[in-house]
Amino acid sequence: MRFFSDTYVMFKRNIKIGFRNPDAFGMAIVAPFIMIMLFGLVLGGAMEMGRANYVNFIVPSIMMISIVQSTIFVGISINREKKAGIVDRFRSMPIAQSSFLLGHVCASVFRSVIVVVAVTVGAFIIGFRPEASFTQWLAIAGIFLLVTVAATWLAVFVGLVVKSEESASSSLTMISLLPYLSSGFAPIETLPRWLALFAEHQPFTPVIDSARALMMGSPVSNSDLILSVVWWTGIAVVACIAAVKMYGHKLAK
Protein backbone atom coordinates (compact mmCIF):
# COMPACT_ATOMS: atom_id res chain seq x y z
CA MET A 1 0.00 0.00 0.00
CA ARG A 2 1.16 3.45 -0.99
CA PHE A 3 0.49 4.92 2.47
CA PHE A 4 2.65 2.42 4.35
CA SER A 5 5.54 2.32 1.92
CA ASP A 6 5.69 6.13 1.59
CA THR A 7 5.58 6.56 5.36
CA TYR A 8 8.35 4.00 5.69
CA VAL A 9 10.54 5.87 3.17
CA MET A 10 9.97 9.11 5.10
CA PHE A 11 10.65 7.36 8.42
CA LYS A 12 13.95 5.98 7.12
CA ARG A 13 14.90 9.40 5.80
CA ASN A 14 14.32 11.07 9.18
CA ILE A 15 16.05 8.34 11.15
CA LYS A 16 19.16 8.76 9.00
CA ILE A 17 19.10 12.53 9.30
CA GLY A 18 18.51 12.31 13.06
CA PHE A 19 21.45 10.04 13.73
CA ARG A 20 23.73 12.12 11.51
CA ASN A 21 23.13 15.01 13.84
CA PRO A 22 25.08 13.74 16.86
CA ASP A 23 25.15 17.17 18.53
CA ALA A 24 21.39 17.40 18.84
CA PHE A 25 21.06 13.76 19.80
CA GLY A 26 23.91 13.81 22.32
CA MET A 27 22.63 17.00 23.92
CA ALA A 28 19.17 15.46 24.35
CA ILE A 29 20.78 12.72 26.47
CA VAL A 30 23.53 14.66 28.24
CA ALA A 31 21.43 17.63 29.41
CA PRO A 32 18.94 15.56 31.47
CA PHE A 33 21.83 13.51 32.85
CA ILE A 34 23.51 16.67 34.14
CA MET A 35 20.20 17.84 35.56
CA ILE A 36 19.91 14.67 37.60
CA MET A 37 23.44 15.25 38.88
CA LEU A 38 22.71 18.88 39.72
CA PHE A 39 19.39 18.31 41.45
CA GLY A 40 19.99 14.85 42.85
CA LEU A 41 23.61 15.00 43.93
CA VAL A 42 24.29 18.72 44.40
CA LEU A 43 20.98 19.86 45.90
CA GLY A 44 19.65 16.50 47.08
CA GLY A 45 21.86 16.36 50.17
CA ALA A 46 20.29 19.57 51.47
CA MET A 47 16.77 18.15 51.17
CA GLU A 48 14.85 16.91 54.20
CA MET A 49 14.16 13.58 52.51
CA GLY A 50 17.89 12.98 51.91
CA ARG A 51 19.95 12.61 48.76
CA ALA A 52 18.98 9.02 47.86
CA ASN A 53 15.25 9.66 48.17
CA TYR A 54 15.49 12.95 46.33
CA VAL A 55 17.08 11.32 43.26
CA ASN A 56 14.12 8.93 43.13
CA PHE A 57 11.76 11.87 43.66
CA ILE A 58 12.97 13.94 40.70
CA VAL A 59 13.46 11.24 38.03
CA PRO A 60 9.85 11.42 36.67
CA SER A 61 10.03 15.17 36.07
CA ILE A 62 13.48 14.93 34.50
CA MET A 63 11.96 12.33 32.16
CA MET A 64 9.21 14.78 31.19
CA ILE A 65 11.81 17.46 30.49
CA SER A 66 13.92 15.10 28.39
CA ILE A 67 10.89 13.95 26.39
CA VAL A 68 9.91 17.51 25.47
CA GLN A 69 13.51 18.52 24.78
CA SER A 70 14.02 15.54 22.51
CA THR A 71 11.13 16.75 20.33
CA ILE A 72 12.76 20.13 19.65
CA PHE A 73 14.76 18.51 16.85
CA VAL A 74 11.66 17.55 14.86
CA GLY A 75 10.20 21.04 15.25
CA ILE A 76 13.38 22.64 13.93
CA SER A 77 13.70 20.11 11.09
CA ILE A 78 10.15 20.63 9.85
CA ASN A 79 10.54 24.39 9.99
CA ARG A 80 13.76 24.21 7.98
CA GLU A 81 12.21 21.86 5.42
CA LYS A 82 9.24 24.18 5.05
CA LYS A 83 11.50 27.11 4.23
CA ALA A 84 13.96 25.17 2.06
CA GLY A 85 11.25 24.06 -0.38
CA ILE A 86 11.51 20.40 0.66
CA VAL A 87 7.90 20.41 1.86
CA ASP A 88 6.86 21.93 -1.49
CA ARG A 89 8.69 19.21 -3.36
CA PHE A 90 6.90 16.47 -1.40
CA ARG A 91 3.53 18.21 -1.63
CA SER A 92 3.80 18.33 -5.41
CA MET A 93 4.71 14.63 -5.68
CA PRO A 94 2.28 11.74 -6.20
CA ILE A 95 2.71 10.32 -2.69
CA ALA A 96 0.42 9.69 0.27
CA GLN A 97 0.20 13.26 1.55
CA SER A 98 0.11 12.20 5.21
CA SER A 99 3.40 10.32 4.91
CA PHE A 100 5.61 13.39 5.34
CA LEU A 101 4.30 14.29 8.80
CA LEU A 102 3.83 10.68 9.91
CA GLY A 103 7.38 9.80 8.91
CA HIS A 104 8.63 12.70 11.00
CA VAL A 105 6.47 11.74 13.99
CA CYS A 106 7.48 8.06 13.95
CA ALA A 107 11.18 8.87 13.66
CA SER A 108 10.98 11.47 16.40
CA VAL A 109 9.13 9.15 18.79
CA PHE A 110 11.76 6.50 18.08
CA ARG A 111 14.53 8.99 18.97
CA SER A 112 12.72 10.09 22.14
CA VAL A 113 12.38 6.48 23.29
CA ILE A 114 16.14 6.01 22.94
CA VAL A 115 16.75 9.24 24.84
CA VAL A 116 14.43 8.22 27.69
CA VAL A 117 16.01 4.78 27.98
CA ALA A 118 19.51 6.30 28.00
CA VAL A 119 18.53 8.85 30.64
CA THR A 120 16.99 6.08 32.78
CA VAL A 121 20.24 4.13 32.63
CA GLY A 122 22.16 7.31 33.49
CA ALA A 123 19.86 7.96 36.44
CA PHE A 124 20.44 4.42 37.64
CA ILE A 125 24.20 4.96 37.63
CA ILE A 126 23.79 8.10 39.71
CA GLY A 127 21.64 6.40 42.32
CA PHE A 128 18.07 6.03 41.04
CA ARG A 129 16.65 2.93 42.74
CA PRO A 130 13.14 2.15 41.49
CA GLU A 131 11.06 -0.63 43.03
CA ALA A 132 8.49 -1.09 40.29
CA SER A 133 7.29 -4.52 39.20
CA PHE A 134 7.25 -5.54 35.56
CA THR A 135 3.61 -4.59 35.08
CA GLN A 136 4.24 -1.25 36.78
CA TRP A 137 7.09 -0.61 34.35
CA LEU A 138 4.72 -1.40 31.48
CA ALA A 139 2.25 1.14 32.84
CA ILE A 140 5.03 3.75 33.11
CA ALA A 141 6.17 3.01 29.57
CA GLY A 142 2.58 3.39 28.34
CA ILE A 143 2.07 6.80 29.94
CA PHE A 144 5.47 8.05 28.81
CA LEU A 145 4.78 6.89 25.27
CA LEU A 146 1.49 8.78 25.27
CA VAL A 147 3.23 11.96 26.48
CA THR A 148 5.95 11.47 23.86
CA VAL A 149 3.48 11.11 21.00
CA ALA A 150 1.54 14.18 22.16
CA ALA A 151 4.69 16.28 22.63
CA THR A 152 5.92 15.21 19.19
CA TRP A 153 2.72 16.30 17.42
CA LEU A 154 2.93 19.55 19.34
CA ALA A 155 6.50 20.04 18.11
CA VAL A 156 5.44 19.23 14.54
CA PHE A 157 2.65 21.81 14.76
CA VAL A 158 5.01 24.44 16.19
CA GLY A 159 7.55 23.71 13.43
CA LEU A 160 4.90 24.24 10.77
CA VAL A 161 3.51 27.44 12.29
CA VAL A 162 6.48 29.53 13.38
CA LYS A 163 8.57 31.71 11.08
CA SER A 164 12.09 30.65 12.03
CA GLU A 165 14.07 27.74 13.42
CA GLU A 166 14.99 29.92 16.40
CA SER A 167 11.39 30.47 17.39
CA ALA A 168 10.61 26.77 16.89
CA SER A 169 13.45 25.99 19.28
CA SER A 170 12.58 28.64 21.86
CA SER A 171 8.84 27.95 21.98
CA LEU A 172 9.47 24.24 22.50
CA THR A 173 12.11 24.99 25.12
CA MET A 174 9.46 27.03 26.95
CA ILE A 175 7.19 23.98 27.04
CA SER A 176 10.08 21.86 28.31
CA LEU A 177 10.41 24.24 31.28
CA LEU A 178 6.83 23.59 32.45
CA PRO A 179 7.75 20.48 34.50
CA TYR A 180 9.85 22.77 36.74
CA LEU A 181 6.60 24.34 37.93
CA SER A 182 4.94 21.07 38.87
CA SER A 183 5.07 18.53 41.64
CA GLY A 184 8.34 17.38 40.09
CA PHE A 185 10.97 18.93 42.32
CA ALA A 186 9.19 19.57 45.60
CA PRO A 187 5.91 18.39 47.11
CA ILE A 188 3.09 20.71 46.03
CA GLU A 189 2.22 21.53 49.67
CA THR A 190 5.55 23.31 50.07
CA LEU A 191 4.96 25.71 47.15
CA PRO A 192 3.53 29.23 47.56
CA ARG A 193 -0.27 29.21 47.22
CA TRP A 194 -0.55 30.70 43.69
CA LEU A 195 2.19 28.52 42.33
CA ALA A 196 0.69 25.43 43.95
CA LEU A 197 -2.58 26.28 42.21
CA PHE A 198 -0.85 26.30 38.82
CA ALA A 199 1.28 23.24 39.56
CA GLU A 200 -1.74 21.25 40.65
CA HIS A 201 -3.66 21.90 37.45
CA GLN A 202 -1.05 21.61 34.76
CA PRO A 203 -0.75 18.49 32.55
CA PHE A 204 2.67 17.33 33.74
CA THR A 205 1.73 16.98 37.41
CA PRO A 206 -0.62 13.95 37.17
CA VAL A 207 1.91 12.14 34.95
CA ILE A 208 4.77 12.89 37.33
CA ASP A 209 2.71 11.82 40.37
CA SER A 210 1.55 8.59 38.71
CA ALA A 211 5.02 7.72 37.41
CA ARG A 212 6.60 8.41 40.78
CA ALA A 213 4.13 6.16 42.59
CA LEU A 214 4.56 3.41 39.97
CA MET A 215 8.35 3.62 40.08
CA MET A 216 8.39 3.32 43.86
CA GLY A 217 5.92 0.47 43.84
CA SER A 218 3.46 2.44 45.94
CA PRO A 219 -0.29 2.72 45.32
CA VAL A 220 -1.27 4.97 42.43
CA SER A 221 -4.17 7.36 42.62
CA ASN A 222 -6.74 6.48 39.97
CA SER A 223 -7.62 10.10 39.41
CA ASP A 224 -3.97 10.88 38.58
CA LEU A 225 -3.93 8.09 36.02
CA ILE A 226 -7.21 9.16 34.45
CA LEU A 227 -6.14 12.82 34.42
CA SER A 228 -2.84 11.88 32.75
CA VAL A 229 -4.58 9.93 30.01
CA VAL A 230 -7.25 12.60 29.45
CA TRP A 231 -4.78 15.49 29.36
CA TRP A 232 -2.28 13.88 27.03
CA THR A 233 -4.73 12.14 24.73
CA GLY A 234 -6.41 15.53 24.39
CA ILE A 235 -3.14 17.30 23.63
CA ALA A 236 -2.16 14.60 21.13
CA VAL A 237 -5.47 14.75 19.28
CA VAL A 238 -5.65 18.55 19.15
CA ALA A 239 -2.00 18.97 18.11
CA CYS A 240 -2.32 16.24 15.47
CA ILE A 241 -5.46 17.75 13.92
CA ALA A 242 -3.92 21.23 14.00
CA ALA A 243 -0.70 20.03 12.38
CA VAL A 244 -2.50 18.08 9.64
CA LYS A 245 -4.76 21.08 8.90
CA MET A 246 -1.77 23.37 8.81
CA TYR A 247 0.04 21.04 6.41
CA GLY A 248 -2.96 20.52 4.16
CA HIS A 249 -4.62 23.90 3.94
CA LYS A 250 -2.68 26.72 5.52
CA LEU A 251 0.53 25.90 3.69
CA ALA A 252 -1.44 26.18 0.46
CA LYS A 253 -0.14 29.14 -1.41
Partner: protein
Protein backbone atom coordinates in the same frame (compact mmCIF):
# COMPACT_ATOMS: atom_id res chain seq x y z
CA UNK B 1 -1.82 20.08 -31.30
CA UNK B 2 -3.30 19.39 -27.90
CA UNK B 3 -1.84 21.61 -25.23
CA UNK B 4 -0.02 20.17 -22.24
CA UNK B 5 -0.74 23.07 -19.91
CA UNK B 6 -3.88 25.13 -20.25
CA UNK B 7 -4.56 28.17 -18.08
CA UNK B 8 -7.76 30.20 -18.33
CA UNK B 9 -8.47 33.52 -16.62
CA UNK B 10 -6.52 32.69 -13.48
CA UNK B 11 -6.98 34.99 -10.49
CA UNK B 12 -5.26 34.84 -7.15
CA UNK B 13 -5.54 37.12 -4.13
CA UNK B 14 -3.40 37.11 -1.04
CA UNK B 15 -5.39 38.18 1.95
CA UNK B 16 -3.71 40.04 4.73
CA UNK B 17 -4.73 42.46 7.44
CA UNK B 18 -3.71 45.36 5.23
CA UNK B 19 -6.21 44.23 2.60
CA UNK B 20 -6.25 41.97 -0.40
CA UNK B 21 -3.35 41.84 -2.75
CA UNK B 22 -4.39 40.88 -6.26
CA UNK B 23 -1.42 38.85 -7.49
CA UNK B 24 -2.76 37.23 -10.67
CA UNK B 25 -5.31 39.27 -12.59
CA UNK B 26 -6.82 36.99 -15.19
CA UNK B 27 -3.83 35.12 -16.60
CA UNK B 28 -4.41 32.85 -19.62
CA UNK B 29 -1.99 30.86 -21.73
CA UNK B 30 -1.50 27.53 -23.44
CA UNK B 31 1.67 25.47 -23.50
CA UNK B 32 2.10 22.94 -26.28
CA UNK B 33 3.51 19.48 -25.62
CA UNK B 34 7.30 19.39 -25.75
CA UNK B 35 9.50 22.44 -25.91
CA UNK B 36 10.28 25.18 -23.47
CA UNK B 37 7.76 27.72 -22.23
CA UNK B 38 9.13 30.69 -20.39
CA UNK B 39 7.23 32.92 -17.99
CA UNK B 40 9.24 36.10 -17.88
CA UNK B 41 8.79 38.79 -15.28
CA UNK B 42 10.49 40.86 -12.64
CA UNK B 43 10.40 40.11 -8.92
CA UNK B 44 6.86 40.13 -7.54
CA UNK B 45 5.22 39.81 -10.96
CA UNK B 46 3.38 36.65 -9.84
CA UNK B 47 5.56 34.00 -11.50
CA UNK B 48 5.92 31.78 -8.42
CA UNK B 49 2.21 32.16 -7.64
CA UNK B 50 1.41 30.78 -11.10
CA UNK B 51 3.86 27.91 -10.61
CA UNK B 52 2.34 27.14 -7.20
CA UNK B 53 -1.14 26.83 -8.67
CA UNK B 54 0.03 24.67 -11.57
CA UNK B 55 1.96 22.35 -9.26
CA UNK B 56 -1.06 21.88 -6.91
CA UNK B 57 0.60 23.77 -4.04
CA UNK B 58 -1.94 26.57 -4.12
CA UNK B 59 -5.49 27.04 -5.30
CA UNK B 60 -6.72 29.74 -7.67
CA UNK B 61 -9.45 32.11 -6.49
CA UNK B 62 -10.99 32.21 -9.95
CA UNK B 63 -10.32 30.65 -13.33
CA UNK B 64 -8.99 27.21 -14.08
CA UNK B 65 -5.81 25.42 -14.99
CA UNK B 66 -5.21 21.94 -16.26
CA UNK B 67 -2.20 19.79 -17.00
CA UNK B 68 -2.35 16.92 -19.45
CA UNK B 69 -6.12 17.40 -19.50
CA UNK B 70 -6.55 17.13 -15.70
CA UNK B 71 -7.82 20.06 -13.66
CA UNK B 72 -5.22 21.04 -11.04
CA UNK B 73 -7.78 21.52 -8.26
CA UNK B 74 -10.22 18.67 -8.95
CA UNK B 75 -7.68 16.05 -9.99
CA UNK B 76 -4.60 17.17 -8.08
CA UNK B 77 -3.55 13.56 -7.49
CA UNK B 78 -3.48 12.82 -11.20
CA UNK B 79 -1.74 16.12 -11.95
CA UNK B 80 1.02 15.20 -9.49
CA UNK B 81 1.58 12.01 -11.47
CA UNK B 82 2.64 14.00 -14.52
CA UNK B 83 4.63 16.88 -13.02
CA UNK B 84 7.88 17.46 -11.21
CA UNK B 85 8.93 20.69 -9.53
CA UNK B 86 12.23 22.43 -8.88
CA UNK B 87 11.50 25.37 -6.64
CA UNK B 88 13.50 28.53 -6.07
CA UNK B 89 15.73 26.95 -3.45
CA UNK B 90 17.66 23.73 -3.81
CA UNK B 91 15.35 21.36 -1.94
CA UNK B 92 17.87 18.72 -0.93
CA UNK B 93 18.51 16.99 2.40
CA UNK B 94 21.80 18.35 3.68
CA UNK B 95 22.69 15.38 5.86
CA UNK B 96 21.94 12.76 3.25
CA UNK B 97 24.34 11.99 0.42
CA UNK B 98 23.57 12.78 -3.20
CA UNK B 99 22.88 9.12 -3.86
CA UNK B 100 20.53 8.84 -0.86
CA UNK B 101 18.61 11.94 -1.93
CA UNK B 102 18.04 10.47 -5.39
CA UNK B 103 17.23 7.01 -4.06
CA UNK B 104 14.60 8.48 -1.73
CA UNK B 105 12.81 10.24 -4.60
CA UNK B 106 13.06 7.03 -6.67
CA UNK B 107 11.44 5.06 -3.82
CA UNK B 108 8.65 7.60 -3.45
CA UNK B 109 8.03 7.69 -7.20
CA UNK B 110 8.28 3.89 -7.46
CA UNK B 111 10.94 3.97 -10.12
CA UNK B 112 11.93 0.57 -11.46
CA UNK B 113 15.67 -0.15 -11.50
CA UNK B 114 16.03 2.71 -9.04
CA UNK B 115 19.70 1.93 -8.33
CA UNK B 116 20.63 2.10 -12.01
CA UNK B 117 18.55 5.23 -12.53
CA UNK B 118 20.31 6.87 -9.59
CA UNK B 119 23.71 6.06 -11.08
CA UNK B 120 22.62 7.30 -14.51
CA UNK B 121 21.47 10.65 -13.11
CA UNK B 122 24.57 11.03 -10.94
CA UNK B 123 26.67 10.58 -14.07
CA UNK B 124 24.54 12.86 -16.21
CA UNK B 125 24.90 15.64 -13.64
CA UNK B 126 28.61 15.11 -13.03
CA UNK B 127 28.05 14.09 -9.41
CA UNK B 128 29.56 10.56 -9.39
CA UNK B 129 32.62 11.63 -7.41
CA UNK B 130 30.52 13.32 -4.74
CA UNK B 131 27.76 10.69 -4.79
CA UNK B 132 28.50 9.39 -1.30
CA UNK B 133 29.32 12.68 0.35
CA UNK B 134 26.67 14.52 2.37
CA UNK B 135 25.07 17.39 0.46
CA UNK B 136 26.31 19.81 3.14
CA UNK B 137 29.76 19.39 1.53
CA UNK B 138 28.44 20.36 -1.94
CA UNK B 139 28.97 23.71 -3.64
CA UNK B 140 25.97 25.81 -4.69
CA UNK B 141 26.20 24.63 -8.28
CA UNK B 142 26.41 20.96 -7.25
CA UNK B 143 23.36 21.33 -5.02
CA UNK B 144 21.39 22.87 -7.85
CA UNK B 145 22.42 20.03 -10.16
CA UNK B 146 21.38 17.43 -7.60
CA UNK B 147 18.11 19.31 -7.11
CA UNK B 148 17.36 19.12 -10.85
CA UNK B 149 18.46 15.47 -10.96
CA UNK B 150 15.92 14.75 -8.20
CA UNK B 151 13.27 16.52 -10.26
CA UNK B 152 14.09 14.37 -13.30
CA UNK B 153 13.93 11.10 -11.37
CA UNK B 154 10.86 9.23 -12.53
CA UNK B 155 10.62 10.82 -16.00
CA UNK B 156 7.69 13.18 -15.45
CA UNK B 157 6.38 14.54 -18.76
CA UNK B 158 6.11 18.11 -17.42
CA UNK B 159 8.91 19.80 -15.52
CA UNK B 160 8.55 23.08 -13.64
CA UNK B 161 11.68 25.11 -13.04
CA UNK B 162 11.13 28.19 -10.90
CA UNK B 163 14.05 30.54 -11.50
CA UNK B 164 16.54 27.70 -11.87
CA UNK B 165 19.53 29.94 -12.55
CA UNK B 166 18.99 32.60 -9.90
CA UNK B 167 22.07 32.65 -7.72
CA UNK B 168 24.24 30.58 -10.08
CA UNK B 169 27.57 31.84 -11.40
CA UNK B 170 27.89 32.38 -15.19
CA UNK B 171 29.59 29.03 -15.76
CA UNK B 172 26.91 27.08 -13.94
CA UNK B 173 24.22 29.13 -15.63
CA UNK B 174 25.44 28.11 -19.06
CA UNK B 175 25.69 24.50 -17.91
CA UNK B 176 22.09 24.75 -16.70
CA UNK B 177 20.98 26.07 -20.10
CA UNK B 178 22.61 23.12 -21.80
CA UNK B 179 20.83 20.81 -19.45
CA UNK B 180 17.44 22.38 -20.04
CA UNK B 181 17.93 22.08 -23.82
CA UNK B 182 18.86 18.42 -23.43
CA UNK B 183 15.73 17.75 -21.41
CA UNK B 184 13.56 19.48 -24.00
CA UNK B 185 15.18 17.40 -26.74
CA UNK B 186 14.11 14.30 -24.84
CA UNK B 187 10.50 15.36 -25.34
CA UNK B 188 9.81 16.79 -21.89
CA UNK B 189 7.60 19.86 -21.62
CA UNK B 190 9.45 22.50 -19.65
CA UNK B 191 7.80 25.37 -17.83
CA UNK B 192 10.45 27.85 -16.83
CA UNK B 193 10.24 31.12 -14.95
CA UNK B 194 12.97 33.69 -15.08
CA UNK B 195 13.70 37.32 -14.57
CA UNK B 196 16.50 37.24 -17.12
CA UNK B 197 15.59 38.26 -20.65
CA UNK B 198 18.68 36.65 -22.04
CA UNK B 199 17.62 33.33 -20.57
CA UNK B 200 14.21 33.51 -22.21
CA UNK B 201 15.78 34.49 -25.53
CA UNK B 202 18.30 31.65 -25.34
CA UNK B 203 15.96 28.87 -24.33
CA UNK B 204 12.29 29.41 -24.96
CA UNK B 205 10.13 28.45 -27.94
CA UNK B 206 7.39 30.45 -26.35
CA UNK B 207 7.55 33.41 -24.00
CA UNK B 208 4.85 35.06 -21.91
CA UNK B 209 5.70 38.31 -20.22
CA UNK B 210 4.02 38.60 -16.85
CA UNK B 211 3.87 42.07 -15.34
CA UNK B 212 1.99 42.93 -12.14
CA UNK B 213 -0.23 39.89 -12.51
CA UNK B 214 -1.13 40.40 -16.17
CA UNK B 215 0.30 38.73 -19.28
CA UNK B 216 1.22 41.74 -21.39
CA UNK B 217 2.66 39.89 -24.37
CA UNK B 218 3.18 36.36 -25.55
CA UNK B 219 4.52 34.46 -28.52
CA UNK B 220 7.79 33.10 -29.75
CA UNK B 221 10.81 35.32 -29.09
CA UNK B 222 10.87 36.16 -32.82
CA UNK B 223 7.21 37.11 -32.92
CA UNK B 224 7.62 39.37 -29.96
CA UNK B 225 10.52 41.07 -31.64
CA UNK B 226 8.69 41.36 -35.01
CA UNK B 227 5.97 43.36 -33.30
CA UNK B 228 8.44 46.11 -32.61
CA UNK B 229 10.29 45.88 -35.92
CA UNK B 230 11.61 49.28 -36.71
CA UNK B 231 11.49 50.19 -40.45
CA UNK B 232 13.59 53.31 -40.23
CA UNK B 233 16.65 51.58 -38.89
CA UNK B 234 15.72 48.17 -40.34
CA UNK B 235 16.61 46.51 -37.05
CA UNK B 236 15.06 43.96 -34.79
CA UNK B 237 14.81 44.95 -31.16
CA UNK B 238 16.23 42.77 -28.46
CA UNK B 239 13.85 41.00 -26.15
CA UNK B 240 14.87 43.55 -23.60
CA UNK B 241 13.43 46.35 -25.77
CA UNK B 242 10.23 44.35 -26.11
CA UNK B 243 10.01 43.84 -22.40
CA UNK B 244 10.67 47.45 -21.49
CA UNK B 245 8.28 48.76 -24.14
CA UNK B 246 5.51 46.56 -22.87
CA UNK B 247 5.92 47.38 -19.24
CA UNK B 248 6.00 51.03 -20.29
CA UNK B 249 9.23 52.03 -18.73
CA UNK B 250 10.94 53.21 -21.86
Amino acid sequence: MKSMISVKDLHKYYRSRKGDHHVLKGVSFEVAKGGIFCLLGSNGAGKTTAVNILTTLGKPDRGSASINGCDVVKYSDRVRESISLTGQYAATDELLTGRENLQMIADLRRVENSKAETVRLLQAFRLEDAADKPVSDYSGGMRRRLDIAMTLMGNSPVIFLDEPTTGLDPQNRIAMWELIRTMANDGVTIFLTTQYLEEAEQLANQVAILHEGVIIAQGSPEELKQDLYCEETDSLPTLEDVFLTHIGEK
